[in-house]
Symmetry: C2
Subunit: 460 residues, 2 copies
C-alpha cells in the first residue's frame, strides 16, 4: 500500500539508474507499478536534462501527462520545450480537459496548435473553450467532464444513462441537473441516488439550491466557497446560468497552496514564480528587482538620518541605539501586516472588521510601545549615563511613537491596497518598513536634536 | 442558488436585527433557509455577546454545531463557555464524530464530560477514541463514519448493504474493503461500483494498493498525500493496518490553510493563535513576547556598533549609511528564508535538494552582492566626496559580504532547524536578522575602522 514515506523507501533514483543501464525492460515494468507522484519524485531527483530525458522515455504514455503536470512549473516548461510533439500528443490524449489546457498553456503557441490538431474535434473544442478563460478564474480551473441530466428524468433513467456514459468521468461524486436551456437547477450527491426509488423524479430528490461558482470568479473566491460549503466538487455556470464545467476539491488544494505561497512571497519581497529549481541567474535577477526597490527606501531612511549630522556627531550613542528603534518598529509593523494580509486572504475582513482592526492594532502598538519604551529607556539610561536619563526619555518617546505608527500603518497599508483593488500583500512589506524606518529615525534623532543638543551645549 | 457574494447581498445582519425585534417567527423561518456559512457570517457581524446570544437562539438545532465549528477559534470558545449544556448537547447530536470531537476540545473537561454522557454509548466510544489522538495527526483529523465491506463479498451484496446502511454517511465517495481482521486491503470509488456486474467479487474490482494515512502521521504529511494522489478521501489505518477512520478533502483544505497561516505567522514573529477578533490585551501580550526576543537581538547589534564608537564619531557618514547595509542584508536573507521555508512545507526539499539550495542561494547572494556593491559604492562615493572613493570601497565590500552571508544563512537556518526536528519557520526570521545585522554592522564598521580611520588620521 503506497504511503509517501514507504514509497520513497521502495524505489530510488539510484535503482532507476542501475536499471536504466542494466535492465531497461525491468525499468519499463517497474514504472507501470509506480504512482504518478512517485515517478515525478524520481524525475525531480535527476541531475541533468540528459538523464531526465532518458528516464522520461520509460514513463508509460497514459500517465506521462499527469507526471508532467505534477512537476514544478519551471522544470515542466523546460521539459515541454524539449519533448517532441509526438510524445506530447500521446501525453495529452489521456488527460482530462482541464489538465490538457494546463499543459498546453506551458507551450509555445505554435507547438500548442500542432498538439491541438491531434485531438478529436470535440476534445479540441472543449480544450479551446477552457483556454479562453483566465487561468486564475473558476473557468480556468474547471474541467468540462461532468455528468448532467435533465430535470424531467426519473432516477431510473439517470442510473441507466450513468451506467452507460459515466464510466470515463473521474471523481464522479455529484450529478448536476439542468433545464431545457442547460441552466443548472439542482445537484445530487451520487450516493444519495442509491437510496432513491427508480420511479422517483430526479427533481423530487435533488438539492435545489446547489452551491456553485461563476466562470469569471477569481480562484481565491472559489476556494472560499469550497471552504464555506465543505463540498468536494462545485459546478461552474456562465452569466446565463448555463452549466459549463465543474471544479473538484483536489484542484482547490493546489489553488489554496498557490495563493498562500503567493502571499508569503509577496510579503517577503519575492516574486510569485521564485523556485529552488530555477537557474541561479534568473533567481538573482528576480530578487534583485525587489532589492533595488528596497535600496531606494533604505536610502530615503539614510537621507532622513543625514539631516541630523550635527547631533549624531556630538552624541555617538544615538548611532548605536537608533537601529533598535527602527528594528522594533519594523517587527511590530510586520506582525500587524501579516495578520491583516492573512485575514483578508481568508475572507475574514469586512469593512466593519477592517475599521475595528485599525483601531485595535493601533492600540496594541500603543500598549507595547509603552512597555518597550520603559524597558529601552531604562537600558539606555544605564548604558550611557553621561547624558543621563534624558537620552532614556528621548528613546522611550520615540519607541512609543514608532510602535504606535507601526501598528497603524501595518493595518492601514493592506486595507488601502485592497480598497484600490491591489493585492494587499504586494510590496506592502517595503512600504511598511519605509514608514517604520522614517518615523523611527525621525522621531529619535529629531527629539535628540531638540532636547539633547541644547543640554550638551549648556554643559559644554 | 447560493453563491457567497449573492448570499451576503440577500440577508444582512440589519435584516436579522429588524426581524429579531419585529417578527421573530419570520427570523426562525429565514434561518432555516440559510446555509451554515451564511449563518456564521451573520454571527460574526454581531457587535456584542448579548446580540450574538440572542441571534444564536434562532439557529436551528440541527446546524448549530456546524455553525459553531465554522466560527474562528477565539469566538467559538467564548460562545461555548456561554451556551448552556442543554443547547450544546443538541448541537453535538447532529455532528459527525470528528466534528463532535473538535467541538468538545474547545470545552472545559467538566463540561465536555457532561456532554459526552448525553451521547449514545456507541457515539460516545467513537468520539472518545478520536479525542485520544493528537489533534494535528491523521487520527485527530479523521472521522469514524465510513463504509467498509468484507473482501469476500460480491458487488451485489455490497450494493444491498450500502442501500441499507450508507444513508447516514456524508460525502460517501469510496468504499473500503477489509479482511477478517479489519485490515484495509482495498478501496473502490463509489461510482465505479455502478459499472460492475452484481455477481462480480468485490476483490476483483477493487483497487488493491489504496493510498492511505497512518493514524500517527502529522497533518502536514497527510495533506501532502492528498496533493500527490489527487484523492477526495483517504482511509486511516493504525499500526496493525486496521482501518479506523477516513479523512475527506474538505478537512484537508482547512489543514492546508492552517499550516500556511502558521508558517506565515511564525516567519513574521506572530503566534499561531493571533487573530483579529481576539481582545487587545491578549494580542499585545502575544506580540510583546516576540518583540522582547527581537529587542535582545537588536541590542546585540547595538553592542556590535558600540565597539566602533571611535570611527563613528570621526566619520558621521558611517552612521548615515550603515542602516542601508543592514536593511539590504535583511531583505535578501528574508527572500531566501521564505522560499526555503515554503519549499520545505510543500515537501519539495530532500537532502540533496537542500544541499544544492544552500549553494545556489549563496551564489544568488554573491551575484546580487556584486551588483549592489557597485551601485551603493558609487552612491556613497558621490554622496560623501570628502572621504573619496575609499568609503565607497568599504561599503561595497561590506555589501558583498553581507548579501552572501544573508543567502547562506537564509538557506541554512531552516534546514538546520528541520534537521533538529524544529519547525523551520519558528523564530528563523529573528535568527536571520541577527546574522545580517551583526555581519552588516561588523563588516561595514570594521572595514571602516581598519581602512578609513588611518586615512583620516594621516589627513588630519
Amino acid at each position: 500500500m503506497p504511503n509517501l514515506k514507504q514509497a520513497s523507501q521502495i524505489f530510488h533514483l539510484a535503482d532507476a539508474q542501475s536499471l536504466l543501464s542494466h535492465d531497461p525492460d525491468r525499468l519499463t515494468a517497474m514504472m507501470k507499478t509506480l504512482h504518478i507522484a512517485e515517478i515525478a519524485s524520481l524525475i525531480l531527483e535527476t541531475r541533468d536534462q540528459h538523464e531526465c530525458q532518458r528516464l522520461l522515455r520509460y514513463v508509460p504514455n497514459e500517465v506521462l501527462g499527469e507526471v508532467l503536470l505534477t512537476l514544478p512549473e519551471g522544470i515542466r516548461e523546460d521539459l515541454l520545450a524539449l519533448l517532441p510533439s509526438a510524445v506530447l500528443s500521446l501525453a495529452l490524449h489521456d488527460l482530462s480537459s482541464d489538465d490538457a489546457a494546463d499543459l498546453l498553456q506551458g507551450l509555445t503557441e505554435e507547438k500548442a496548435e500542432t498538439l491541438l490538431a491531434s485531438l478529436s474535434e470535440e476534445d479540441r473544442r472543449e480544450v479551446r473553450r477552457l483556454l479562453s478563460h483566465d487561468e486564475e478564474s473558476a473557468g480556468g480551473l474547471m474541467q468540462a467532464e461532468l455528468f448532467k441530466v435533465r430535470v424531467d428524468w426519473s432516477v431510473g433513467k439517470v442510473l441507466k444513462v450513468l451506467r452507460r456514459w459515466g464510466r470515463e468521468i473521474e471523481n464522479l461524486n455529484y450529478i448536476y441537473i439542468v433545464d431545457d436551456d442547460d441552466r443548472l437547477v439542482g445537484s445530487l450527491a451520487l450516493h444519495r441516488l442509491l437510496f432513491c426509488e427508480k420511479k422517483q423524479a430526479i427533481a423530487e430528490v435533488m438539492h435545489t439550491r446547489p452551491a456553485h461558482a461563476l466562470a469569471g470568479q477569481d480562484q481565491e473566491e472559489v476556494a472560499r466557497i469550497f471552504e464555506h460549503y465543505d463540498v468536494l466538487a462545485l459546478p461552474v455556470i456562465d452569466n446565463e446560468g448555463v452549466l459549463i464545467g465543474r471544479i473538484t476539491a483536489d484542484d482547490i488544494l493546489d489553488v489554496v497552496q498557490e495563493e498562500a505561497t503567493e502571499d508569503m512571497y509577496r510579503l517577503a519581497a519575492v516574486s510569485d514564480d521564485d523556485d529552488l529549481s530555477e537557474p541561479i541567474g534568473i533567481t538573482a535577477w528576480r530578487r534583485g528587482i525587489w532589492l533595488g526597490l528596497n535600496l531606494l527606501t533604505a536610502l530615503l531612511a539614510s537621507f532622513v538620518i543625514s539631516q541630523f549630522e550635527g547631533v549624531l556627531s556630538s552624541i555617538v550613542a544615538l548611532a548605536i541605539l537608533m537601529p533598535v528603534v527602527a528594528s522594533m518598529g519594523g517587527i511590530a509593523g510586520t506582525q500587524t501586516l501579516t495578520v491583516m494580509v492573512r485575514s483578508i486572504a481568508l475572507g475574514r475582513v469586512s469593512l466593519a472588521v477592517g475599521r475595528r482592526a485599525v483601531l485595535k492594532e493601533t492600540f496594541v502598538g500603543l500598549i507595547n510601545g509603552c512597555v518597550f519604551a520603559l524597558i529601552l529607556g531604562a537600558i539606555a539610561s544605564v548604558w550611557f549615563p553621561v547624558i543621563g536619563w534624558h537620552l532614556g526619555l528621548v528613546i522611550a518617546a520615540s519607541m512609543l511613537v514608532n510602535l504606535t505608527a507601526a501598528g497603524m500603518a501595518g493595518a492601514m497599508i493592506p486595507l488601502t491596497l485592497k480598497r484600490f483593488h491591489i493585492d494587499p500583500a504586494l510590496a506592502s512589506g517595503t512600504m511598511l518598513t519605509t514608514v517604520t524606518d522614517v518615523v523611527g529615525f525621525l522621531s529619535f534623532l529629531g527629539l535628540a536634536q531638540v532636547f539633547l543638543l541644547p543640554l550638551l551645549n549648556k554643559a559644554g
